[in-house]
Structure formats: structure tokens, C-alpha cells
């Protein structure tokens, strides 16, 4: 298991739906960073020191295949981008030692949650699987 998250660590949010990115300019949409109803966190993977191939392999094995959906891409953030929004990044080593959650979304304020998601998406970098691999 990795130590607590360093603010400079890269994080990947795996994308399984086309609706979560803009193919026109290869950018991430805010909905990719919105937690579902009743939850205050989104699932990410810590990718520091991993090869590109390893990063995709985690997404395919522990995210896409587990859900029976195709892996389309990943939105990459630096942990401090989330921390700057008042969120925290907490290690959560299930189902994989590199799994973590970006936590602290305001569960009772979806307008503010959306605003935070806009900020995260603005700072994220999109990597599409077919281009990257």
C-alpha cells in the first residue's frame, strides 16, 4: 500500500462513457468528476511512477472489466488540483493498492458540487485509450 497522497501525485479517473469528454478538443467534461447522488467522493487511481501501459492495465482490469464496460480513456489530475478545491485525496486500497478517493464534495449542495467539477475538469488532461496506447 502506498503512503498518504503527495500533493504532486498524478491521479487518474478512468472514463467509460463518451458523455464524459469532448472529442472535439480532447478535453474532460465536468460530469466526469461529479460523484453520484448521495456520495461525496469519486474514485481515482494513483499513477505515480507507473508506465503508461501499467496505468491502462489497471483501468482495464480493475475498472472497465469489473463493470463490463469498455475503457475509453482517463482524466488525469494532480492531487493538489483537488486539494485546492477543499477536497482531500484518501488512499482506499480496494480493489487495488493504488486506488484512492477524492473526497469532500458537498453532498447536500449539488450546485457547488458541479462548480467544483468544472474546476477539476478545467485542470484535467484527457488521455484517450486508442490514441495513447
Amino acid at each position: 500500500m502506498l503512503e498518504s497522497v503527495n500533493p504532486e501525485e498524478p491521479l487518474s479517473r478512468y472514463i467509460l462513457k463518451k458523455a464524459y469528454y469532448r472529442p472535439s478538443d480532447n478535453t474532460v467534461k465536468p460530469n466526469a468528476f461529479m460523484p453520484p447522488s448521495g456520495k461525496d467522493d469519486v474514485s481515482v487511481y494513483r499513477t505515480v511512477s507507473l508506465s503508461n501501459e501499467d496505468i491502462w492495465q489497471i483501468g482495464m482490469t480493475y475498472v472497465a472489466q469489473k463493470r463490463g464496460m469498455p475503457l475509453l480513456g482517463r482524466a488525469e489530475l494532480i492531487a493538489c488540483d483537488a486539494i485546492a478545491q477543499g477536497l482531500s485525496v484518501k488512499p482506499d486500497p480496494v480493489p487495488h493498492p493504488r486506488h484512492a478517493n477524492i473526497s469532500g464534495f458537498p453532498i447536500d449542495n449539488s450546485a457547488k458540487t458541479r462548480m467544483i467539477a468544472l474546476e477539476l475538469a478545467a485542470r484535467a488532461t484527457l488521455h484517450l485509450l486508442k490514441i495513447d496506447s
Binding site: 478535453t27 453520484p36 450546485a111 458541479r114 462548480m115 468544472l118 474546476e119
Partner: protein, 236 residues
């Protein structure tokens, strides 16, 4: 020669610079008079839209009598005679027909037919995303399904969109909501989202560090605070 086509192709040049500010009043009057033919055209020289109503004489009456009846009606109209309507433009193309031409700025007056065409693609996109994401967990991360009530509210909001506001992209959200996105760049965008509860939630980013978010109730018109923010996004 087909009278309607003839007028359509020639009368645009007959229009003066008079603007009929009380277009609605005039239209109501003309509807009362049951015009036989009417059409909407775009004036290519200035981008203004023209409405052309062609009145044809009833049996037993002359065009002059009908024109007189229009003017009488307009003078007694409860909002007062529309400005400039004394200068009804007409060209005597045949013995029994008069084209009456109204000119107005299309940005202020929605026309149901054109609005329908404008919104058709967007409504179709809403329908498509509603169907595609109608089951729970559609994103693999426990997203709520897009319900029919959310779809209906999205369509309702689309039909309220002011004509000077560009059409947005639509996306499903994990909350079971539908987002309308107006996008310039990833740090310069505005999102308005509906949940089927009569509320729009919005969030906008206008460059790093410049943001706003909130909620607005959906009444009978497009929420003013939302249109304010969208226009703000597209300001130079």
C-alpha cells in the same frame, strides 16, 4: 404566374426601412382577418426577417374595402395602432390581392416554426441521451438514471431559450440530471442543469479564479440569471 411566388421574389425590395415595433398587435389583427397566405422570409441584405401576409378579396368585396377594414381594425386596436402601420406596404400585383409586409428583428420575436426547426436537433439529442442513460449505473460509477421527468424539463427549457443565445451541447450527469453546456474553452464555460424539479442549477467558469454558481426556478420564461451568465460567457 403564381401570385405567391411572384410576391415572394419581388416584394422584399419594396419594403421600406419602417420597423413595425408592435408586430404582435399587427399579427393578431391579421389573424383576425384570416389572411389566406402568409410566409416568413429572411432579407439577405440585412438579416431581418419579414412576414408577408397576402390578403385576397372576399367574395363580394374589393381589396380596397379589405384594406380599409384592416385600417379601421388597427385604429381601434386596444393597444393603439401599431407604429408605422399607416404605411402598410402593398404592391398591386393583381386586381384581387395585396401583399402586406411586416418587417421586424427576428432576435426579439420567436416564430414557432423556425423555433421548432432550431431546436429539433437539440431535442433529439436530449431524447437520445435520455434513452441511452435510462438505467441505473449507466456510467459504471453508480450514476442515477435519467428519468422521463428530467427529459421533459430539459425539452421545456430548450423551448424557452432566447433566440440570441447559442444552442448548447447536452450531457447526462451522474445525479440523473441533464446538463446544458455552453463551451468556449475548458476554463471558460457555463453549465445549466435540470433535475425535473422545476429548478435550474448552474455553474460557470470565466477563466481561472472567476466563477459563479447557483440555482434558479423555472417559471414561464427562460431564467434571467441563467441567460445573463450565458451572455457573459460570450462577451468579448
Amino acid at each position: 404566374m403564381n401570385l405567391y411566388n411572384y410576391i415572394k421574389s419581388t416584394s422584399l425590395h419594396d419594403v421600406t426601412s419602417t420597423t413595425f415595433e408592435e408586430y404582435h398587435a399587427a399579427t393578431v389583427c391579421l389573424q383576425d382577418l384570416n389572411p389566406r397566405q402568409r410566409g416568413f422570409f429572411l432579407d439577405p441584405t440585412n438579416g431581418l426577417r419579414l412576414e408577408i401576409n397576402i390578403l385576397q378579396a372576399e367574395h363580394g368585396s374589393s381589396i380596397r374595402q379589405e384594406l380599409s377594414a384592416i385600417n379601421d381594425l388597427l385604429s381601434n386596436y386596444r393597444y393603439g395602432a401599431p407604429k408605422g402601420l399607416g404605411k402598410i406596404a402593398f404592391s398591386q400585383t393583381t386586381a384581387d390581392a395585396i401583399p402586406i409586409i411586416f418587417r421586424y428583428d427576428s432576435s426579439n420575436i420567436p416564430d414557432p416554426l423556425l423555433e421548432h426547426r432550431r431546436f429539433a436537433g437539440l431535442i433529439s439529442a436530449v431524447d437520445e441521451l435520455s434513452m441511452e442513460n435510462s438505467l441505473p449505473n449507466w456510467d459504471g460509477y453508480e450514476a442515477k438514471p435519467i428519468l422521463r421527468s428530467v427529459r421533459d424539463e430539459a425539452v421545456r427549457l430548450i423551448k424557452m431559450l432566447p433566440s440570441d443565445i447559442p444552442l448548447p451541447e447536452v450531457s447526462p450527469e451522474p445525479l440523473g440530471t441533464i446538463a446544458f453546456e455552453w463551451y468556449k474553452a475548458k476554463d471558460n464555460l457555463f453549465i445549466a442543469s435540470v433535475s425535473g424539479k422545476g429548478i435550474v442549477e448552474y455553474a460557470g467558469l470565466y477563466g481561472i479564479g472567476n466563477k459563479d454558481y447557483g440555482t434558479a426556478r423555472i417559471e414561464n420564461t427562460f431564467p434571467k440569471i441563467v441567460s445573463y451568465h450565458i451572455r457573459r460567457l460570450f462577451e468579448d
